[in-house]
Symmetry: C2
Subunit: 440 residues, 2 copies
C-alpha cells in the first residue's frame, strides 16, 4: 500500500480548478470517498469523490463517463451508494479505480466534457456515514494519551505492564456512530464522587472530546482465520477523523471490571470522507518506538513496519463556543498532534484484532485511541489539557473551559504535507453540544 | 408483556401431534421464531416457527394460509427471512401474530389442511442466526457469578462497590456470533503467567463456556432519547441461550484498563430459536434481591419489577467429550442454574443501556452475563466449577476436566415449567471445540 505511482505526482493538476489551490484538502492526488446526496432531498445516497470544492457523483459518473469494463463493475455498486462493496475488493482493484478516477479528473482528460455535469458543489450536499459499519472497535494506541491519563491515577507508574506488549482495545457501539455535523446530546449517567455516599443520576458535567482516527477495514477474514501482519495493510481501506465523545464523570464509576460503556456509547462522530491508504502513501514514516521498548512478539512484527509503519498526518482540535460565534469571533485551536505518535501501527492493530480468529468485515471501523503528542499542548482530550479538570483553558475574551459546555462546537482537522508531495487533507469532523434532555 | 391470554391455556392442543408430548420444548403455547432452510439447499433463509418436532415455514404459510390483512402484512417480510421487521413492530402487533399462529395451529383449526404442507421436520433444517444483530452488548447481571469470580481475586471483598448500583456491561463483537452447531476454533492469544518474564503467543489452554441468555431488542429508540423503565419490556422481543466462550488465560493479561476483548470475541454461540416474552409470561417471578441490597436509583425502578421482573427459567450445562461419544456414553450435566438469579431484570438492563441516549435497534442483542446460581454446582462456567482451574471435574469413566479440550461438545439447555402452565423449552445451544490452527 506504500507504493508510489503516477497518482502521487505532485505536479499533476485537475480540470476542476478549485482542486489546484495549494490549500485544498482535496487535490487530484487525494480522491477520498463519501456517501452523500443533495441537501434536503430524498435522493438515495450515492458514493461521491471529493475534488477541490466539488464532488464527483458516481451515480452520474458511472453512466455519463467512459470506463473500462473492469472499472464499470467497480462503479456500479458505488452508484447505488454501496461503498462497502469497494472495500470488499482486492487492493489491486481499489488501486485501479483510484488510477481511473485520477486520469478522468486530470487536466486534459477526454472525460472532462462527459463528467462536468456529474460534479456537485460539496456545499450543496448532505452526508451519511461513508459505509455500513458492522463492528466498531476502539484501540488505545496513543501512548502519550495512555501515559497522561495514567499519570492522573498513578503518577509514578502511569503505563500498565501490558501496554507495550498488547495493542489494548475494546468494542465500541456501532449504532451511535454519526457523521460530522450531527449535534451531540449531553448524556445523563450515574456518577459517584469520592464524597458521595450513594451514586446520583444526572447530566454529565465532564463532557470531553477525544482526537482519534478511524481506520476502515477493507477485505475481511473468515472466522477462525487470522490476518498475517505482512498482509494486514491490504485489508485496510483508509481513514477518517473520529471524535470519541466521553463523559469523564460516568466513566470512573462504571468501568470496573469490564471497561468503558455508557461513558462512550452516546455518540461517536466521524468525518464524512475516507482518505485511502493509497492517497497517504507519500506520508508514511517510521514507527515511533523508544530504544528501550520491547520488540513486538513475532505475530506483530514485519520488516516493513519499522521503516514505514507510521503515517505523518498532522492533527488539530478547534473549539468554537456559542459566545465566540455570537460575537463573530473565530474558533480557537486548543491542541495539535500527529498520527505518527501511535505506539502500534494500523497493521499491528488489525493483525492483533484478528489474531484469535475474530472475523473482520468490509466496513468495520477501528478507532486508534486518542492521539496525543508528547507535550501538554498536544493533548487530544480536555481531560489531559486541564490535568483532570484542575486547570482552566483560556479561550480569550474572558472565556475559559475545563470540559465542554452546551453550545460548544468542537472540530477535528487533519492534513498531511511534506516537500515533494502534494498536501492532502481529511476535511473536518465537527459536533455541536446540545443541552441534556429533561429527566425521564 | 406479562398478561396472560388464551395462548397460555395449558390444556390447548395442536393438530401437530408431536407438539402435544409432555416433554416437547415446543408445544402450542411456545411458538418461537428462527431462520432456517432445507439443510444443504441454497434456498433463501425464511422465518420458521417451531411446533413440536416440526417447523412452520412462513414462506409457505404466508401464501397457503388464510390470514387477516393485518397478519398478512406481518407475515410477508417473515416469508422473506426478515425477522428484524417483526421485532420493529409494536408489542400489540407481535402479540396479534402470536395469537393468529396459535389459532392456526390449534387442534380443530380450519387452517390445518392449508398449512399441513407448510410444515418441515426440524431435523431436515439448517439454521442461520435468527436476526441481523446490529450491536451485541454483554452484561454481568449474574450476581453469583460476579461474587464467585471476584472471590478468586479478592476473597474478602468479591463484589466491586458499583455492582449493586450500575448494571455493569460492555460491548461485544457482533460479527463472531454464530448459531448453535457451528464448531468453535480454539483461539491463539497473548498470555503472561506470574512466572513469565515476557508474554507468549500460544493457543489458549484455559478455554471455557459461559451460561448466558441473550435478550433480543424489539423496537428501538432514537439516538439521544432514553427508554423509560415502564416501557422497557415493550422494547424486548424474546430470548435465546447464549454461550459466551472465554479464553481464561488471554483475559487477565489483556483486560486492563479497557475490559475483555480477544478473550471473548473469537466466537459466541446462540440457540437458533427466539422464545418470545409473551410465551414466558406464565413464568414471571419476583426480582431476586436481598433485604440489605440498595433500592435501584429512580430511573431503574418500576412497581412491576419487584413482583414479576424475573423469569423462572431452568438452565443446564451439558458436556459430551470425544471419548464419551466414541464409546456411546451419554453427555454429563456439569451444572444447572436458573434465570431468576439475575440481579438486574431484563427491563433494567435495557433502560440502563439507553439511559444516556444510546440508540437500540431491532435485533440488537443483550447478553445477561453468566447466570450462576448460589451454590458451587450451579456455576455457569468452568472457571467457577473448578475454582480457577484448581479442582478437577470428574466426568466418570476416568475422564476429568478443568477447562475444555479439543473435541468437547458443550450444550446449554433451558426450560420453564410450573403447575398450571404448559412446559416450554428453548432448544439446545451447542458448540464443538476444534483444535487451534497452526501458527501464523
Amino acid at each position: 500500500m506504500n507504493a508510489l505511482d503516477f497518482t502521487h505526482d505532485p505536479a499533476a493538476q485537475s480540470w476542476v480548478l478549485s482542486a489546484n489551490a495549494a490549500d485544498s484538502d482535496f487535490p487530484l492526488q487525494n480522491l477520498p470517498y463519501a456517501r452523500a446526496r443533495k441537501a434536503g432531498s430524498q435522493q438515495d445516497w450515492r458514493v461521491v469523490v471529493a475534488i477541490g470544492d466539488q464532488a464527483l457523483d458516481l451515480a452520474l459518473a458511472a453512466t455519463q463517463g467512459k470506463w473500462s469494463s473492469a472499472i464499470q463493475v467497480l462503479l456500479d455498486p458505488l452508484a447505488r451508494g454501496d461503498l462497502n462493496s469497494l472495500m470488499a475488493q482486492p487492493a489491486a482493484s481499489r488501486r485501479s479505480l483510484r488510477q481511473a478516477l485520477f486520469e478522468a479528473l486530470r487536466e486534459g482528460s477526454a472525460q472532462q466534457t462527459r463528467l462536468q455535469s456529474a460534479l456537485v458543489a460539496q456545499s450543496d450536499l448532505e452526508f451519511a456515514l461513508p459505509a455500513r459499519v458492522g463492528d466498531y472497535t476502539d484501540f488505545y494506541a496513543g501512548i502519550h494519551h495512555a501515559v497522561a491519563v495514567g499519570k492522573l491515577f498513578r503518577p509514578d507508574n502511569p503505563l500498565l505492564p501490558n501496554y507495550k506488549w498488547v495493542p489494548i482495545g475494546y468494542h465500541g457501539r456501532a449504532s451511535s456512530l454519526v457523521v460530522s455535523g450531527t449535534p451531540v446530546r449531553r448524556p445523563w449517567g450515574q456518577r459517584k464522587g469520592p464524597q458521595d455516599e450513594t451514586p446520583q443520576f444526572l447530566p454529565s458535567q465532564r463532557l470531553d472530546h477525544e482526537l482519534e482516527l478511524g481506520l476502515w477495514v477493507a477485505q475481511g477474514n473468515a472466522l477462525g482465520h487470522p490476518i498475517p501482519i505482512q498482509q494486514a495493510e491490504e485489508h485496510l481501506f483508509g481513514l477518517s477523523l473520529l471524535n470519541d465523545w466521553s463523559a469523564r464523570d460516568i466513566q470512573p464509576w462504571e468501568y470496573q471490571p469490564l471497561g468503558p460503556f455508557l461513558a462512550k456509547n452516546f455518540g461517536t462522530t466521524l468525518s464524512p470522507w475516507i482518505v485511502t491508504l493509497e492517497a497517504l502513501a507519500p506520508f508514511r514514516c517510521p514507527q515511533e518506538r523508544a530504544a528501550e521498548d520491547p520488540q513486538p512478539l513475532p505475530y506483530l512484527k514485519s520488516t516493513g513496519n519499522e521503516a514505514a509503519g507510521g503515517i505523518d498526518l498532522h492533527l488539530e482540535v478547534w473549539l468554537h463556543t456559542a459566545a465566540q460565534r455570537a460575537a463573530g469571533r473565530p474558533a480557537v485551536r486548543v491542541a495539535f498532534s500527529n498520527m505518527r505518535h501511535m505506539y502500534w501501527t494500523a497493521a499491528q492493530l488489525l493483525t492483533h484484532h484478528a489474531s484469535n480468529g475474530c472475523n473482520m468485515q468490509p466496513g468495520d471501523l477501528l478507532g486508534t485511541g486518542t492521539l496525543s503528542g508528547p507535550t501538554p499542548e498536544q493533548a487530544g482530550s480536555l481531560l489531559e489539557l486541564t490535568f483532570g479538570g484542575k486547570q482552566l483553558i483560556d479561550l480569550g475574551d474572558g472565556e475559559t473551559r475545563t470540559f465542554l459546555q452546551d453550545g460548544d462546537e468542537l472540530s477535528l482537522r487533519a492534513y498531511a504535507e511534506r516537500p515533494g508531495a502534494r498536501r492532502i487533507g481529511l476535511g473536518p469532523c465537527t459536533g455541536l453540544i446540545q443541552p441534556a434532555l429533561p429527566a425521564i
